[in-house]
Amino acid sequence: MARRFARFTAVMALALVAAACAGSSPEGSAGGGEGEGGGEGGGGGEELVFAIGGADAQPGGTHTQVVDLWNEQNPDKPVRIEVLPNEADEQRNAQALELQAQGSNFDLLGVDVIWTGEYAVNGWLASLEDVRGEVEDQVLEGPLESGLFEGELFAMPYNTNAGFLYYRTDLIDTAPTTWDEAREICGAAAEEAGISAYVGQGSQYEGMVVNYLEYLYGAGGELLSEDGSEVLLGEGDAATTALEFMRTAQAEGFYDPGFNTMTEEEARGVFQSGGAACMRNWPYAYTLMNGEEEESAVAGNYDIAPIPTFTGTEGGTAVLGGFNIGVNAFSDNVEGAKEFVVWAATNDEVQTLLGERSLPPVKASVYEELGAEDPVLGQLGEILTSDAIGVRPPVPAWSSISEDMQETIYSCYTSDSPPAEQCISDLVTAIQEDVE
């Protein structure tokens, strides 16, 4: 018995080791891909490597299809995807390791809008100013702005993202446009249906920062000055208005009881199962909740509207997300890479494909063409062209700023002390240190 038990334990240990090895395989398999794409390209010079992560970078994913499209059209200038990990921090780390060493293994970099500043200031990205003219008139202004650092284009818009207010059409007739209305309308509908009023991204992470910035911008506030050197969060009372709103919403139960542990998926889970009247979420949720791919208690009973503000601004507010494509400054083929990024930002086929796959495109004409029949793109088109959109400032220290905001905003809105003014002034001090 004891011997058999020992053997069982040994097998378990081996299995764990094996699992651990398998877990680390993404890097391994990425290296193995070199033979496949490269060999087939046949003609031309070196292939370009596009380092991007997430599910869309996997075989069959959207990014893969985009690259396939390019390779079809440009068989002499092949591009291949280097799949990075799923976690955003890990993707950034993988890219940073390469770039820090001035490596040229990656030519094209999938750059989250919030990384642009850090990459640019480190000199990791090639300036795209010389091709800016080729895209400027075709690409939406907001997304283009997200690729700028100190006014210079460093990352080419690829796909963008903006949040919506989802609401239950069976419970609510007209979408709220101000937060006071939202409190009333979503609250009343919730009370009637015996469900929660509002779900969103309240967990302590980057998504909550986006939620907060939406409140902040919707109250007319700003985080940083244009050049990113000055903290404007403390100016006026927008910051405290936003924080007080969250605090009250949490304390009085406007937020679902689990709001402060929610990310996108938990929020969608509650809304999709009919547990909430209103939800703040990204466009991806729209198609997923229509009942075709997944079971949905709200299929056919929800619509989207711009995220409310405190003043009822036309077009609501939005804080842009999405991925841009940067060109590695140390690449052996900067010109070839630039060709690709311009193409990806402006090619109709590419941008339509993104639109169809819930990655909001950056090309304005796609919204005009598809907006009529696709409610998400229609709504997005309006939001993205309105004045209400904001960005997370493209400053190099964004991640430190974000970490400080996560920490302070979270602990402040989930409790009733210290006073909101105190919270904000603490935060301003912390951010000031980050940007100095």
């Binding site: 018995m1 004891a2 058999r4 038990f5 069982f8 334990t9 378990m12 299995a15 764990l16 699992a19 877990g23 921090d89 890990e90 780390n93 940073a96 820090q100 850090e118 200031v121 480190n122 967990s203 302590q204 992470y205 679902d256 009881p257 689990g258 709001f259 402060n260 542990t261 929610m262 938990e266 889970g269 509650v270 199962s273 547990g275 190099p396 220290a397 991640s399 430190s400 970490e403 979270y410 602990s411 989930t414």
Partner: protein
């Protein structure tokens, strides 16, 4: 002594046998030879274990801006970290977590081990079942506990009739939840270590104690516990050191919110998320010192005779 190679009687002190000088210079003493043989493993260990630690200590002496080194900072990073509240909060959180989880794991693991050491029908199945939590990768069990404890869909709350109780979103319950998840996951591991120890105690030791008139409790306290001391020590040391480094559970279940920022979560923030390698290296060096200190304390208090050996041996 052993180096006199010939069978001839040992020469008087000072006298050099013909050719002795040369022979001596060619031969390597036994001690030197031993050092030579051991050297590769020492060097490997130094490279693998010591280098990262020393490198982190080195990095902690520099000031960084983002990922870019700005220059030598001396002990500025240490002053910043040690005078700020974050580090000490994380130390306290980590210590609470460690003490609570190790205590519960020990008691429950001991229970499991005693159970598994009994002969009964289905013992093999029980042993395998008990180990399932330990075999599941931590990240997955963390995700599972997050799902079960979360307000929505609220499995645990429904089970206990707690309504919308916010386990993961309130203090101190977030930390309690993480301790719970860790105990659930690791008590079987402790049980395994203790079971290995229990199996080295011969059955007739207990029979002798029964004949000597010991009750079940006395057999446990007078026979099992003392004889299990080495296994207990190993289990406690492993678990303590491991708990002091806890990262995955808070990272997945709470992201460090609501008083669950442990030392490793803090280190991860500064090494990966921000990143600020200087502060990150400072924090990891301090974490290393804390873990090492507690480990040494542990060996000193509980395991001296086990590590150094009984003077009678």
């Amino acid at each position: 002594m052993a180096s006199s190679a010939s069978t001839a009687p040992a020469p008087p002190a000072g006298a050099v046998p013909p050719g002795g000088e040369r022979a001596k210079s060619r031969e390597i003493s036994v001690g030197a030879l031993a050092r030579l043989f051991v050297a590769p493993s020492i060097i490997t260990m130094a490279l693998v274990a010591l280098f990262p630690i020393l490198y982190a200590a080195y990095l902690s002496l520099f000031e960084y801006r983002g990922r870019q080194q700005q220059g030598f900072a001396g002990l500025d990073n240490y002053v910043d970290v040690l005078t700020g509240g974050r580090f000490w909060d994380a130390v306290i959180t980590t210590l609470i977590f460690t003490v609570a989880s190790v205590a519960f794991e020990f008691v429950i693991g001991m229970g499991f081990a005693l159970l598994m050491n009994q002969a009964f029908v289905g013992r093999g199945v029980t042993r395998a079942t008990i180990l399932i939590p330990w075999v599941i990768p931590t990240v997955i069990s963390a995700q599972m506990w997050f799902f079960m404890l979360n307000v929505n869909p609220g499995f645990i709350n429904n089970l206990l009739g707690l309504g919308g109780f916010n386990w993961l979103g309130s203090e101190p319950w977030a930390l309690v939840s993480i301790i719970l998840a860790d105990v659930w996951k690791t008590a079987p591991f402790v049980a395994l270590l203790l079971l290995a120890g229990l199996q080295t105690i011969p059955e007739d030791m207990y029979e002798a104690a029964r004949v000597d008139g010991a009750t079940a409790w006395q057999r446990f306290t007078r026979i099992t516990l003392p004889l299990l001391k080495p296994a207990i020590f190993v289990a406690l040391l492993f678990r303590t050191v491991d708990s002091l480094r806890i990262f995955d559970l808070p990272a997945v279940m709470t992201g460090g919110s609501n008083g669950t920022t442990t030392l490793s979560v803090l280190v991860q923030r500064f090494i990966v998320a921000e990143p600020n390698p200087g502060v990150g290296a400072t924090l990891s060096t301090l974490t290393f010192v804390v873990v090492l200190g507690i480990g040494v304390l542990f060996v000193g208090l509980i395991g001296r005779d086990l590590v150094i050996g009984d003077p009678e041996d």
